[in-house]
Structures are given as C-alpha cells and as structure tokens.
C-alpha cells in the first residue's frame, strides 16, 4: 500500500511504500530538516508537528527533549517518528537548515601566479594531400614553432577535441596546455584559463572561480555541504559511513554534485561552461578529504586516528566526478593528521606560516578547532573538540549567523540589554558572536559568577522548568518566542572555550612560549570575523595579548586553496609546511584535565 507524506508549509509531497522516519522522508523529498546529531535523537533540533493518529509511539528521546505541552500539541522529533499512512507534516522554520551566510572574503593573497597551465592561440597549416601530418603532430609542430613548446602531446579526450576544433575553427585553434600536455582545444579562440578552488567545510562549501593567468577571483559562491543530511558534524558523518558503506558512496556523490552545481553557476557568470575548468584545488578536513576521494574512513574514526596519506594528490578531475575539462586534474593538498586536514595547511599557507621566524598563533574555530603555534622554525598544531557552540548550535536559542540572529550584545551596569540583530528585524535567536558577547557581558556585570553560574535573583534572571536559571536577552513580540541564555548554554560556551584555550595553552607550554612573546593571533573562519576580540580575551577564549595583535583573516582556507590553484610554488610550500608541522594530540598531553579546567574558568573583568 502506498501513502503520501505532505510537508507544510512547502507543500512538497512524497509517495512512499514502506514505513519511514519523517527525517528519511524529508531527505527523500528534498525538504530541509536539521539533523545536528545525525538522527540519533539527542539534539532535539528536528521538531515537527503532525496529527498523532497513525504514528509510532512517542519515544524516550522525545519525552526527554520535548516538554509535555509540546507533546500535547503534536510536536515530535522527525528522526524518531515513523509514518506509514497519509499524513501532513508541519516543518517550522526553526527546524529547517538555515540558508547560510557565506564567508568568502579573506585576506588579499599576495602571489605571483605561475601554474603549469596556460592557453595559447595557434594558426595551424591546413591538412592537404601534400601535408598529411596527423592532427596532433600538426598542432605539436605549430606549438614548437610559435611558442617554443617541445614534445607537446595529448591523451585521448584531448585528441578528440583537437580533431574537431581544427576543422570548426578553420585551422585556427585555442589550446590549453598543462606543461607539454594538451588538455583541451577550442575552435578559433584561446579562452582565459580558469580553475576552481574549493574549501570543503563540514557545513559549508566555499567555491571560487579563478583566472589562472592573473590569480584573480572571477566569481565566488557558497553552498551548504549536502552531506549535512547525514549528520552535522564530522563524527556523525563518519558514523554514518561506518554504519553503511552505501552512505560513504552517497556522501561522495552528493558532495561532488553540489560542487558541480556551484561551479556551473560560477562559470555561467563569466559566459563559460563548467567543462572549461582546466584545474581544481580542493581543501578540507581529513574526513572530507577521505570521503571526497572515496577512501575508507574507519581508521579516521577510531584511535589512533591515522589518515590514509599525508602527501599531496593530483588525480583526474573525472575520477572524482567533477565535470571539468576531461583532461583536467584536481589537486588535493596533504592532510596533516586525522583531525588536522589540508584546510589547516591552506590556512597556514595563507597566514604566511613558515615564511618568517616570528611567534604566531593561528586558530580556525569550528566544531573542531585547529590551532597552530609557530615559534622560530617550529610549527606545532593541534585539534580540539570545541563543539559547535560558537556556530550557534547546541545553544537553546542558537542559530547560525543569519537574519534574525542576535550578533552583538551589551549589558549596562543596571542590567539593561542592548542587542544588535542581523537584518534589523525582531530577534529569532542568537548566533556565535552574540553568545560570546552575552557571556562576557553577563560576567562583567555579575549576572554570572566566576564559576560560570547564573546568579539567581538578578534582574532578567528567571527559572526554567528544570529549575536551572536563564537570562532574558530579548522579549518575544508578535508571537515570537523570548530569546534566553540558559545555564546550559553558558556551560556549552565554557566547554567550547575551555577546549580551545586548553589547546592554546598546551601548545604554548610545549614550546615554552609566554603570552607577551606572541606577536600575532590570526583567527580564521566566519566566527573569527564577527567575534569581538575584547570579549574573546575577557572570557579567556584567547590569551591576554594587546587587542591589536588579534587579526581576523576570514576564509583563510579558501584563500590558501586559491593560492595553490594558481601557483605551483604555493603547492610546494604547502607540501613542505605539511611536513614541517608537528601534530600534538592534546587529549593525552600530561595534565590535559587541568589545562581544560583552567580553560573553562571565567576570569574576572
């Protein structure tokens, strides 16, 4: 018997045969529903409302994560509710995966583009009964005479296009070369050589179309990483891959499809087609790197977390499924360790690590935060499980930095809250930078004490159902809910900043660096660009350096990927950086627990 699931408010319908969880049905129907825990019933972010008849019984997870009022109103968790009969499911905005605010900007990258790839225009003598040279020979000879290229050659796909292009272009032909290899041919014109740089984030993809001659970004665009349907963090993705090998394959395919889709749009802005891409460089954390290449991830998921390779790879773009020129390659810089990927190499490259003998910190804040400390000729890196609190996840009223999110908070000595909402409308939730500000300000005016506890009885402090206190940031109007910071939220922030600070302190201890020695702290990533450095230092997320030494460097992973796309020298430097970096596993470092405990404290003022 078939049945139909209809999703509201989108009106998308799905005809099903077997019983399905609502999450699965939504995935199949292409309806976005959040899945931070990967469908384990622990995050409570996938709430939906539907009539109770003909549903699977309420699970323990739902009893725990939903209030009795919510259950009475028909709210359920999409990942825990199985449907098997016609039903209409209401998906509230809060449960949809929010449209991302992409961060594509970054430091201006100083580099002299010099790639193996170039395009040239050739006038080729027409074939005749007195000149019966083969097409390739004819083109190779012309290349030798007109551009001094010796021993030009071509593989099968390019041979095909040379043959057609010569005749369509009336013996005038544009040729794309990678060294001496002809990888594409165009009738009549030499196109601008273009390539694609991609920062494959666990949550977001940042794609750049780059002119390979000038290194200039022609167009840039972000997209969600569609693997998000298999869990929001790296560990959930790995768990999905371990549970079913078909999931690895689907994650690979869906990721490449998304990259192809964005690349095609980027090319269209320049009146090009995706098949005109001559090269690609993709960076990402080690899990993304392995999933993209179809490498087994099992040994990334378990201690001792060993990656399959720590060398750069240059593969045929076609093997990954990229719709670039058939002869194009894709370059994947090396990962450093199981939890420090090629995106970190790209960040270090863009931030100029290894070029000078200064004392610098680079921090890329995300669900896993990678930290690198350079002292003289040594670079030490670590990864800490900071969790997604600074991305607004696992925060009760948390959301990504999107319209409606509180991004700035100040609290006066009298306890009056002033907040700045993205887009200027009423507050719908709070994003990472807002959470950081709120904790810092609440501590400064004594609404939370040195142990991070909300002090009961202070104005704005209320008790929640579970008896724990919460602080009112913005009262809801017009049916909007109140935006609160709960005790649990503060605990999440303390855990996140404790993990990051412990990582920083362990690196500094290991290399015997004092705070005053640090010349520069580079913060990569979107959160880094929005955070208020003063508050980051005040809550002890960062060491107490003069604020002018803290620098947001934007999407440095994307910048590094572009550098490697357009410069062979940058590729060499990245590979040598990856070798130079020493990885330190902080969780087994002596005294880790004490570093973590100290990192979670809230210093006063």
């Amino acid at each position: 018997m078939t049945y139909t699931v209809e999703f509201e408010p989108s009106g998308i319908r799905l005809v099903c045969e077997e019983p399905l969880t609502i999450s699965d049905a939504a995935r199949r129907a292409g309806v976005s529903v959040r899945s931070e825990c990967g469908g384990k019933g622990t995050c409570g972010k996938c709430i939906v409302r539907l009539p109770s008849a003909k549903l699977s019984p309420v699970t323990k997870a739902e009893h725990e994560l939903l209030t009795s009022d919510q259950l009475a109103e028909g709210w359920r968790l999409a990942c825990r509710t199985i449907v098997s009969d016609n039903v209409s499911v209401y998906v509230p905005v809060i449960s949809t995966i929010e449209a991302p605010v992409m961060q594509l900007e970054s430091l201006a990258v100083a580099l002299t583009p010099e790639t193996q790839i170039r395009t040239v225009l050739l006038a080729v003598p027409p074939a005749s009964l007195t000149d019966q040279r083969a097409d390739l020979q004819r083109v190779a000879d012309a290349l030798q005479v007109q551009y001094g290229v010796d021993h030009a050659w071509a593989d099968l796909p390019a041979l095909n296009s040379i043959r057609t292009a010569l005749r369509e272009g009336d013996w005038k032909i544009g040729v794309a070369l990678r060294g001496e290899e002809i990888i594409a041919a165009y009738p009549g014109t030499a196109r601008t050589p273009v390539g694609l740089a991609v920062d494959v984030g666990t949550t977001k993809l940042a794609c750049y179309l780059v002119d390979l001659e000038t290194g200039r970004v022609l167009a840039a665009q972000g997209a969600m990483n569609p693997q998000i349907a298999y869990g929001e963090d790296v560990m959930s993705r790995l768990a999905a891959a371990l549970a079913d090998s078909a999931n690895s394959r689907r994650m690979q395919e869906t990721l490449v499809e998304a990259i192809n889709a964005v690349a095609a749009e980027l090319c269209a802005t320049q009146k090009l087609e995706i098949k005109h891409l001559l090269d690609a460089c993709l960076v990402g954390n080690t899990a993304m790197h392995h999933l993209l290449l179809g490498l087994p991830v099992r040994f990334l998921a378990l201690s001792p977390f060993v990656p399959a390779t720590s060398s750069p790879l240059e593969v045929d773009a076609a093997t990954l499924g990229l719709h670039a020129t058939p002869g194009a390659h894709a370059y994947l810089p090396p990962p450093i360790a199981g939890f420090v990927g090629s995106d970190h190499v790209a960040v270090l490259l863009a931030a100029g690590f290894g070029e000078d003998n200064g004392t610098w910190l680079a921090i890329d804040i995300g669900t896993n935060t990678e930290i690198a400390l350079q002292v003289g000729s040594r670079i030490l890196s670590c990864s800490t499980a900071s969790g997604p609190a600074f991305e607004g996840a696992h925060i009760s009223h948390g959301m990504r930095a999107a319209p409606g999110a509180i991004q700035r908070v100040t609290i006066t000595a009298e306890g009056v809250v002033q907040s700045d909402v993205i887009g200027g409308g009423p507050a719908a939730g709070i994003c990472g930078s807002g959470v950081l500000d709120a904790v810092s300000e609440m501590r400064a005016v004594g609404i939370i004490n040195e142990r991070g506890r909300i002090v009961k009885g202070r104005p704005g402090v209320q008790l929640q159902q579970d008896g724990l206190p919460a602080f009112l940031l913005a009262a809801g109007s017009d049916g909007q809910r109140d935006v609160l910071i709960t005790q649990q939220d503060i605990d999440q922030v303390l855990l996140a900043k404790g993990a990051i600070r412990a990582g920083i302190d362990i690196l500094m201890t290991h290399l015997k660096v004092n705070v005053q020695d640090i010349e520069d702290i580079d913060i990569a990533g979107a959160f880094g660009s929005y955070l208020d450095p003063r508050n980051a230092v005040r809550i002890g997320l960062l060491p107490r350096v003069p604020l002018n030494r803290i620098r947001a460097i934007g999407n440095a992973a994307g910048a590094g990927a572009r550098m490697m796309l357009a410069s062979t020298d940058a590729r060499r430097r990245a590979a040598s950086l990856a070798k130079q970096v020493e990885y330190l596993e902080v969780t087994v470092y002596p005294g880790f627990k004490k570093f973590l405990a100290a990192g979670m404290r809230l210093p006063s003022g």
């Binding site: 384990k40 323990k60 371990l242 506890r453 404790g498």
Partner: protein, 211 residues
C-alpha cells in the same frame, strides 16, 4: 586532632587542592589516624560535597575535575594503607573502562570519583580498552556492575559488541551493564541492551545505587 584534620582533608578535596590534600593525608597517616576513617571522613566526604555542589548548580566541570584529581591523588597515597581492610567493607564492585578506539579520560575519571564517593569499589580498566579485557575483568573480578564509557559517535558502537559477548559467555546474568558518555542516550542504552544509562557522573552514580 583527628576531627580537624578530616575536615581539612575534606575541604582540600572539595576545593580541588591536590597538593594540600596529599600533604594532609600524609600528615593524618603519620599521626596514626585510622586509614579507613581518613578515607571516609576526609577524602570521600570531600568528593561527596563536590558532587552535591555540582548537583546544586554551584559547581561546574572545572571545579569537579579539580576535585576529582585531588581525590585521585589523595586515594593513591592512602591505597597501600587500606590493603586488606577493604574486603571487610562489602561495598559493591564496579569495573569501569572507556571502549576501544576512544582515548577520552575525563568523563570516566569524574564517574569514578563520584562512584567512589558513594561507596562503590571501582576498578579502572583505563581508556581504549579492548573487548577481551572487559570480558576477562568480568570473569576475574566478578563485579556487580560493568560501566562502559564512549565519548565519540563512532566509538559508542563498540558497546553493543561488548554486551553481546558478555551474553555469549554467560556472564551477563551475573552483572549489570551501565553505559554513558556524551553521544549516548537512554534510547541508545536500550538499543544495545544496557541496564542503565548515565547522563553524567551524578546521574550514573544515582542509577548505579539503584541497580
């Protein structure tokens, strides 16, 4: 003199002052105070107080971590003096370990501190513990409870195999299994066939007392 010293030890543990706690325990032993009393009225009283403050939301993890560390150090000093006397206490025995592939020690150390404060005898198998080691411990130690910790989405899957193996070897009837760790849930505990799930160290201790 004993009374005052017990209180000093207890306070040092509660406030996570490891060096002070160790120093005072040594002092108490040198003064000839009975080791079991030093443990119960000093060390255990101190960690229990830390647990209470945590439960009352006056303490948070850093405070509990420091208290648990002080507790561990103080117990290490006392342990050689307790040998032989523990058998008489007839406390329930728990074997604890973090499953293979997982090297996170923090959560387990908190659970051990809280369990000990509640009167359990805890045998710590450590981190990254292979399946067979749990089975051997079940056979040799004859614990009342086996506690399994996992702190990663990928490693918690190991628990199912351990419980199945206990079952297969006929050891499951004689003991209870508890599971815990950040990515786990009651539902997960039910799925893998555990007797109880601990949301955190406090909850785990409460539930262990009821098993």
């Amino acid at each position: 003199m004993g009374e005052g010293l017990y209180q000093v030890i207890s306070k040092a543990i509660t406030e996570g002052e490891e060096e002070e706690a160790v120093k005072r325990v040594n002092e108490a032993l040198k003064a000839g105070l009975p080791p079991t009393e030093v443990m119960q009225r000093g060390i255990v009283a101190g960690i229990s107080k830390a647990g209470e403050l945590w439960k009352a939301n006056e303490y948070f993890l850093p405070d509990v971590i420091m208290a648990a560390d002080a507790f561990k150090a103080a117990m290490a000093v006392l342990k050689p003096r307790l040998e032989g006397k523990e058998g008489a206490r007839k406390s329930k025995k728990i074997v604890m370990g973090v499953v293979q592939g997982d090297v996170h020690d923090l959560g387990k150390s908190l659970v051990i501190a809280m369990l000990t404060s509640a009167g359990f005898e805890v045998i710590d198998l450590g981190i990254d513990v292979p399946l067979q080691k749990f089975i051997d411990a079940a056979r040799e130690q004859k614990p009342d409870i086996i506690g399994l910790g996992a702190y990663m989405t990928t490693t918690m899957l190991e628990m199912k195999g351990i419980i199945a193996e206990l079952e297969k070897q006929g050891l499951r009837r004689k003991l209870k299994v508890m599971v815990g760790g950040v990515p786990t849930s009651q539902e997960f505990a039910d799925q893998v066939g555990a007797d109880a799930w601990g949301r955190d160290a406090l909850d785990a201790t409460q539930k262990a007392l009821k098993l």
